[in-house]
């Protein structure tokens, strides 16, 4: 549970850096002053006292770095900094940015287009909820039905929810002026 609490605090700390930085600087300065006072009281000169206090602390920036690592979420902060840096770079080079954005837009648009077509034609299933209810209707054995009749059947019947029709068209495919042996049957 303490990890959850710590995690919340660290996430929240991402948004309060200014104040926390000031607090940290104040706290470390206070530490140095206290230590310097003690050293002076022990007989050191003020300069030596201060220098000794700084050495004992281990380097103010180093302490601050370790403190910052614990305070925030370093990985996230690094990523955010990189993002900000990248954005600034892009703003400085508008021609490149325009080209890159245009290329990406075209790429995405083409992909969406191709996929939509493929999806509609190939991937998406037919809007039939229950295949068991699909029937094939004939008028006269397997003979053809006139189109006008089909329209009437479709619109006026009361048994079927919908009616579709299709036609077979045998095709001969020619190639290079020769009569091709291949015959396309739909």
């Amino acid at each position: 549970m303490k990890y959850v609490r710590a995690g919340f605090r660290r996430f929240r700390n991402l948004f309060r850096t200014d104040r926390l930085e000031r607090d940290l600087a104040d706290e470390l300065e206070a530490h140095l002053q206290l230590h310097t006072d003690d050293n002076v009281r022990a007989g050191m000169s003020p300069d030596d006292a201060r220098r000794h206090a700084l050495l004992s602390l281990g380097g103010v920036e180093s302490v601050k770095e370790h403190y910052r690592d614990r305070r925030g979420i370093p990985m996230l902060e690094v990523i955010l900094k990189d993002l900000g840096f990248g954005l600034r770079l892009l703003r400085k080079q508008p021609a490149f940015t325009f080209g890159a954005v245009a290329a990406l837009t075209i790429g995405v648009a083409v992909n969406v287009l191709v996929f939509s077509i493929a999806n509609a034609l190939v991937i998406r299933p037919l809007p039939i909820s229950d295949p068991g209810q699909v029937v094939r209707a004939y008028v006269d054995g397997y003979s053809n039905t006139p189109y006008a009749d089909y329209v009437d059947y479709r619109d006026r019947n009361q048994t079927l929810s919908g009616l579709a029709a299709f036609a077979n068209v045998p095709l001969v495919v020619r190639r290079d002026g020769l009569r091709s042996p291949y015959r396309r049957r739909p």
């Binding site: 710590a6 104040d26 470390l28 206070a30 530490h31 004992s56 602390l57 302490v63 370790h66």
Partner: protein, 113 residues
Amino acid sequence: MAKTDVWQGTLALMVLRTLETMGPQHGYGLARRIEQTSGAQLSVNYGTIYPALLKLEQEGYVVSEWGASDNNRRAKFYRLTRSGRRQVARIAGEWQQTTAIVTRFLASSEGSS
């Protein structure tokens, strides 16, 4: 890497225990006192105490507030919370148990060789 983890855990325990016996204290005072009590193990780097204090505060074992030190300097004081007290008792118990087990183990193996 493991050595740093053990050290940080030990430091956290020492901070909590020092706050328990000394009462509210600022970072410098804690570092000084721990140095005295632990026999100069911490004299190298007082700075390590601040990340440790931050961790303890984030975990809810201590709270901090600004106050005045003995020589009237402004300093950030740390104080044990109730869950901090429970934590000291718990870890102290674990340490004593571990020490007892290891001591007994080491003592017994001397006889067999």
